[in-house]
């Protein structure tokens, strides 16, 4: 009985963790494959889905495939501008929702939730319907993509900043005012520095959402090609290995930012 019990307990302790790690592995297999394929030399083969030989060629000649780097650049430009606008508007809105009472505040909270709960295909086609009925059907491009991206990033920014702001101890601002800081000094010396990590996280999230979006973008892009649309286009005929290089770079940059941030906060608060 005792032995059985202990075996059962051991399994309970470690099986769950092992299963969890297996799930993580499942999540990482495709990324590992992407990394591996970025070193694949498939110049002698028409089959793009098998690893032939190791080469640095893809990394050394990233921009070789026609139009790919232009598409990446376009995605970066859209990502940065949509992030900038969505982060500013979203932060202002988060302050309004947490710090102020106004008419329609609760319906605003619901409307913010909806874009996150709607299928992208529906949002994308709605926006297309609007553009077409407003006579912009023939002028789809960077501007309409930008508009769409700000729209779906806004909700995520508002929710992220709101959470940070709501978790802020109101006593800190009172303490600042008690210590001779005027309203504006209190904001810039205490409120803003404390909310900033939330704003930064929101911006990072915005950029990756924007950079990666395909469904909504594809419906509203017209002839403009973003990086995901480029990948979609070439997927039918066989993708150049350089796409994997871009995927790997994105992953490493994001990982560096997240890990760097984690280490920075840990150094600040080892307790």
């Amino acid at each position: 009985m005792n032995v059985l019990h202990r075996v059962g307990r051991w399994i309970g302790e470690h099986l769950v963790l092992a299963a969890g790690v297996l799930v993580l592995v499942y999540m990482f297999v495709p990324i590992a494959v992407v990394m591996l394929m970025s070193f694949n030399d498939n110049s002698k083969s028409r089959n793009v889905y098998a690893f032939r030989d190791f080469t640095w060629h893809n990394w050394a000649n990233v921009c070789q495939p026609d139009g790919m780097c232009e598409a990446v650049l376009r995605s970066v430009v859209i990502g940065l501008s949509a992030t900038l606008v969505a982060t500013i508007l979203g932060t202002l809105a988060a302050f309004a929702l947490v710090r102020h009472r106004f008419l329609g505040r609760s319906s605003m909270n619901t409307i913010i939730f909806l874009p996150m709960a709607s299928p992208e295909i529906v949002m994308g086609s709605s926006l297309l319907a609007l553009f077409v009925s407003a006579g912009f059907g023939g002028r789809l491009g960077m501007v309409t993509i930008f508009i769409a991206h700000v729209m779906f990033c806004l909700s995520f920014v508002i929710v992220t900043v709101k959470a940070r702001l709501a978790g802020l101890d109101g006593n800190l601002e009172e303490a600042a005012m008690d210590l001779y800081a005027s309203e504006s000094t209190t904001f810039w010396r205490v409120t803003f520095p404390l909310v900033f990590p939330g704003i930064a996280a929101a911006a990072l999230l915005s950029f990756s959402l924007s950079f990666d979006d395909f469904i909504i973008t594809n419906l509203n892009a017209g002839q403009t090609v973003t990086f995901p649309m480029y990948v979609w286009g070439v997927a039918q005929r066989g993708i150049p290995m350089q796409v994997n290089v871009i995927g790997t770079i994105m992953f490493l940059v994001a990982l560096a930012i997240v890990v760097g941030n984690m280490l920075a906060t840990r150094r600040k608060q080892p307790a």
Partner: protein
């Protein structure tokens, strides 16, 4: 950033000579209840003043109005001759030690303490911060961030951050509530010492009666938005004027009785067949029914028939129903013939054996220790602190 505006502000500087803090008819109503009801209060300059009461009695609201973090519904707050009722918090020579300390998590200890001075554009900030950190014995921790410090250390930082500004009035909002008992005791003595050293007016809000009695020169007991009684710790303890004070500050036996006569400097009360006498300055009613109050440590117990060394009110027929030995003293519950159980605390001097459960005893106390309260007051008020 309007740093420039802050710098030109001279009103935050302490005035020449200390000034009294006066609250007049101060009232604060919230949407659903009145937190503070027409409060009149004067805190003499340089004293350690405690606002004591159960949670929700309005003490914190009063403090926040003095700090400027809450605006009164009506009434005024004066510092000497200066009306500060409507002053912004950052224009008052008043600083607060917050309940949860409210230390800025993004600034280190040095910068937390320097915050007020920097806002006021004071020179040689670093020097002053250094001295202040020495006062609270944290000079070696200056570059740590608040989350890296223990509760007691954070508490001292909060104190230093407020004190360095030399405010005319320092407000302390339950500053020791989060600390464990031993640390709390030593911090109480520490804060009292600092107050005597710097000579500023301290207003301390707490629900802990022992803390208030240890630290304060004057205590105001608050209940339901009004002050029940104000005075020195001894006055409040020895001569409470309401059942609330009698029960909230320490413990009391309250026994129903009827005033038989009130002549000269003594009021005589008939208490379940026994006549007890109460000095007139401790009798807070002169006619009709009342509560005779006596503190448990003033009640003497002896086995039935044996002499009790207290010439005074003497009652027989008690039975010990509970004995709790707590080290320094033994606490008895004695059932009296009229059914009530009286508390009696006896110092463990070793002069006599501890009484057993069920022992028949006589009970007595000196008349000058008893007090008389009006019968219309709730006998249980303040007895159970829901915290």
């Amino acid at each position: 950033m309007s740093l420039a505006a802050d710098r030109t502000d001279t009103t935050a500087r302490p005035a020449e000579g200390p000034r009294d803090l006066r609250l007049a008819a101060l009232t604060k109503e919230f949407a659903t209840f009145t937190a503070v009801r027409s409060l009149d209060l004067t805190v003499p300059a340089g004293t350690f003043f405690a606002l004591l009461g159960p949670s929700g009695c309005g003490k914190t609201t009063t403090l926040r109005m003095v700090a400027g973090l809450e605006t009164p519904t009506s009434g005024t707050i004066h510092l000497g001759d200066r009306d500060i009722t409507w002053e912004k918090p950052y224009r008052r020579p008043v600083n607060t030690v917050f309940q949860n300390y409210a230390l800025f998590p993004h600034l280190d200890i040095h910068e937390n303490v320097a915050f007020g001075l920097r806002r006021r554009g004071v020179k040689d900030v670093d020097q002053q911060v250094q001295e202040m950190l020495e006062l609270v014995e944290l000079e070696s921790q200056a570059r740590k961030k608040p989350p890296q410090m223990s509760g007691g250390q954070q508490q001292r930082v909060a104190l230093a951050r407020a004190l360095i500004n030399r405010p005319e009035v320092l407000l302390l909002d339950e500053p020791l509530g989060a600390l464990d008992l031993k640390l709390r005791r030593s911090m109480q003595i520490e804060i009292k010492r600092i107050q005597e050293e710097v000579g500023l007016t301290f207003v301390h809000v707490t629900h802990d009666q022992e803390e208030a009695m240890t630290m304060a020169d004057t205590i105001a007991v608050m209940n339901g938005g009004v002050i029940e009684q104000m005075g020195s710790p001894t006055e409040l303890y020895e001569n409470p004027q309401t059942t609330f004070v009698a029960n909230f500050l320490g413990q009391s036996n309250l026994i129903a009785g009827t005033v038989a006569s009130a002549e000269g400097d003594v009021v005589r009360v008939d208490m379940h067949g026994t006549q007890v006498s109460i000095p007139v300055d401790r009798a807070h009613t002169r006619t009709g029914a009342g509560w005779v109050g006596i503190r448990p440590e003033k009640v003497l117990v002896a086995p039935a028939g044996e002499p009790i060394d207290a010439p005074g009110n003497h009652m027989t027929g008690g039975v010990v129903t509970d004995v709790s030995f707590v080290g320094v003293s033994t606490q008895y519950l004695v059932r009296m013939p009229w059914g009530q159980e009286l508390m009696a605390f006896e110092q463990n001097t070793g002069r006599r054996k501890i009484l057993r459960h069920g022992a028949e005893v006589d009970v007595s106390w000196r008349p000058e220790f008893a007090f008389l309260l009006p019968a219309d007051q709730d006998v249980r008020a303040g007895a159970f602190e829901e915290d």
